[in-house]
Amino acid sequence: MMYQIIKRRELNPTVTLIEVDAPFVARKAEPGQFIILRVDAEGERIPLTIADYNRSKGTVTVIFQIVGATTEKLNHIPEGGYIADFVGPLGNPSELEGLKKVAVVGGGVGCAIAYPIAKKLHELGAEVHLIVGFRNKDLIILEDEYKAASSKLYFMTDDGSYGEKGLVTVPLTRLLEEGETFDEVIAIGPPIMMKAVCDLTKGYGVKTIVSMNPIMIDGTGMCGGCRLSVGGETKFACVDGPDFDGHLVDFDEAMMRSRIYKPFERHAYEEACNLFKKEVQ
């Protein structure tokens, strides 16, 4: 069984969207859940959060950033091509029912994951303040989608080339200072950004949910590689999460754990790039 990429779109130079034919996943997928894929028979298993799904077509969309050998290989599969394995939905769906007013905060490629959550909240009739941050204008993805999924939209760029200059915490601080009362803040992005959001919201006593994306293998609770400390307890992101109360997550530990294979990844990435360069020559 192989899984076909039926649509492929490069969103920016390092971020690609793929829509995959995976009816078993599509019929159950909910915002906040993830899939695990393997590019080929020698491939590693990597988790990617579900960005969208179409139950009637039986397809699931994921958006990935090219960060290592596996994502580099994945990025070389053309539209119509196949990947070896695609399993899910895994993890618990985000709990969105009953929320009336929410600030959804996305950072970088994390915005691709924040989007389906904002969309679902918007469909449920909640007031959605969507704050998205990117390094610069060229890296912005899914702009039209954000507009359609939010009541208020705030663009932030590190260099000010689009929207406002600064970090995502700038407009969030302003909103909280102005006395906006959110039922919840949902932050999705690099751990350092989620940590900054949590440090901020803690001071205002606003419940904050984060989506953790640690290293995983099986994604079903078997290996424990994705464990993290939440409120002093060890939790498995794959079966207990991936959403957690951000005020209880030990982000420093999570960041430390995510770096374990950095030297290996760098080397593997360079090797993969060299291989593709050779093919081109």
């Binding site: 996943v25 020698e42 399993v87 899910g88 079903t220 078997m222 290996c223 374990i260």
Partner: protein, 460 residues
């Protein structure tokens, strides 16, 4: 003519100092002459005590008799009546505590090498019989199996032979469960597992990998899709940790993760994309088969020093005896009566060492084994850069939480009656999901029982 030698024919093995650097199979198997010689040690005694100690009651004297007359395929057919995975059981069953423990030859010497003979027969069959088994006549009943480990494969095989339309749903990308992600290549070559799975396919069994029952599909949806009975063989579940300081440092693995990276993902091969850390001094905490597997894998990855850290003594080691002997031969260092209390960190949050206490054995505890007690003031540091926790598992809560009316005990294991039936009508279960972490053969026994009960249930 009976062979009255009191010693078992030794198993030819790879030299310890060669094999601890490769992942090829350690035990090489009997040749034909040795197999016949060993078979002649069986006296075919009246009461067949060996059979009563086999969880699937293989006709042991019967198949050994066929070896004596050099009818190896006949021997295979006898084993196949009761066991669907002979090549697997011959390799991984704890024979010393099962069939061989009851052999009357064991009273005055070594018992007959039943496991080694079973393996010989299965390997002979696999090497010489290329014809796939015929697909039985369909009887028009659909059964779903959750999980493709030893319990699920056995249940699927037995039902398929009866003509059921069997579909296995496997969460991982490769079928085989613990036989592929847990037990290493050097103890159970994956080609053997694949052969067993291919046999099931030729019996008409459908296999869906990458389907997580409880997520992609629920048990209730399986019934809606026309399955009339379900067998759950979903395995052991979440790895346990000790809850001591430093357990989340980089370089601390569960045995499940360590073994999965190596066995399922082939991290020891250059061609595989899955990484594993360079390790030099490794402590494996625990004394079961999983601990032995992890330690021997660590050695093969190039670790210079590998310790088994076990809080009781050699006598209480739950691992299969042969695995302990092989581990010792390969240079694994056993630290008995030792218990970790903390893992210490280097500046970069990697493992810098493990603080341990010495233990002594007190009065027997609930398990009947003497309770290990810490010796006060006996703390010492074990110089390691990697710690692997092989402490067992707790059940995965996924099926319980997504299946109404599926009851579990206070440990989280599925509750079944003597027929393997759960609290849900038509839903049977067996293997580690019911018993907690146990052995391959016990899971196979539960798979057989599940198949028998499902057949009775659907024949009504």
């Amino acid at each position: 003519m009976a062979n009255l030698s009191n010693t078992k024919n030794p198993m030819p093995v790879q030299d310890p100092n060669v094999r601890n650097k490769n992942f090829d199979e350690v035990a090489l198997g009997y040749d034909e002459a040795t197999a016949i010689d060993e078979a002649m040690r069986c006296l075919n005694c009246k009461n067949h005590p060996c059979m009563s100690k086999c969880p699937v009651a293989v006709n042991i004297p019967g198949f050994i008799d066929k070896i004596k007359s050099q009818d190896y395929e006949g021997a295979y057919q006898i084993i196949s009546v009761d066991s669907s995975l002979p090549a697997v059981c011959g390799r991984v069953c704890p024979q010393e505590s099962q069939c061989e423990s009851a052999c009357i030859r064991g009273i005055k010497g070594d018992p007959v090498g039943i496991g080694r003979l079973e393996r010989f027969v299965a390997d002979y069959h696999n090497a010489n019989n290329t014809s796939a088994p015929a697909k039985p006549k369909a009887i028009g009943h659909k059964v779903a199996i959750v999980g493709s480990g030893p319990a699920g494969l056995t249940c699927a095989g037995d039902l398929a032979k009866l003509g059921y339309d069997v579909t296995i749903f496997e969460a991982l990308h490769t079928a085989g469960g613990v036989l592929v992600y847990g037990i290493p290549e050097f103890r159970l070559p994956k080609a053997i597992v694949q052969k067993e799975i291919d046999t099931l396919k030729s019996l008409g069994v459908t296999l869906h990998t990458n389907v997580v029952v409880g997520r992609s599909l629920t048990i209730d949806e399986l019934f809606e899709d026309g399955y009339e009975a379900v067998f759950i063989g979903s395995g052991a579940g979440l790895p346990m940790f000790m809850h001591i300081p430093g357990e989340n440092l980089n370089g601390v693995y569960s045995a499940n993760e360590f073994l999965t990276r190596i066995n399922l993902m082939k991290a020891y091969k250059q061609s595989a994309d899955t990484p594993i850390q360079q390790i030099h001094k490794v402590a494996v905490v625990g004394g079961g088969n999983v601990a032995m597997d992890a330690a021997r894998c660590a050695k093969r990855l190039g670790a210079e020093e590998v310790y088994i850290v076990y809080r009781r003594s050699a006598e209480e080691l739950p691992a299969r005896r042969e695995e302990v002997e092989h581990a010792e031969e390969e240079g694994i260092i056993f630290k008995y009566l030792t218990n970790p209390i903390a893992i210490t960190a280097n500046n970069d949050n990697t493992v810098g060492g493990m603080t341990c206490m010495r233990m002594e054995l007190g009065e027997p505890d609930a398990s009947g084994r003497r309770r290990p007690l810490a010796v006060e003031g006996s703390e010492f540091n074990l110089d390691v850069d990697c710690v692997i926790m092989a402490l067992g598992t707790t059940p995965n809560p996924l099926l319980k939480s997504t299946t109404k009316g599926l009851e579990v005990d206070k440990k989280g294991c599925l509750i079944v009656n003597e027929d393997g039936l759960t609290s849900r009508n038509g839903v049977y279960a067996g293997g580690d999901a019911v018993t907690g972490a146990a052995t391959v053969i016990k899971a196979m026994g539960a798979g057989k029982l599940g198949a028998k009960s499902i057949h009775e249930y659907l024949s009504k």
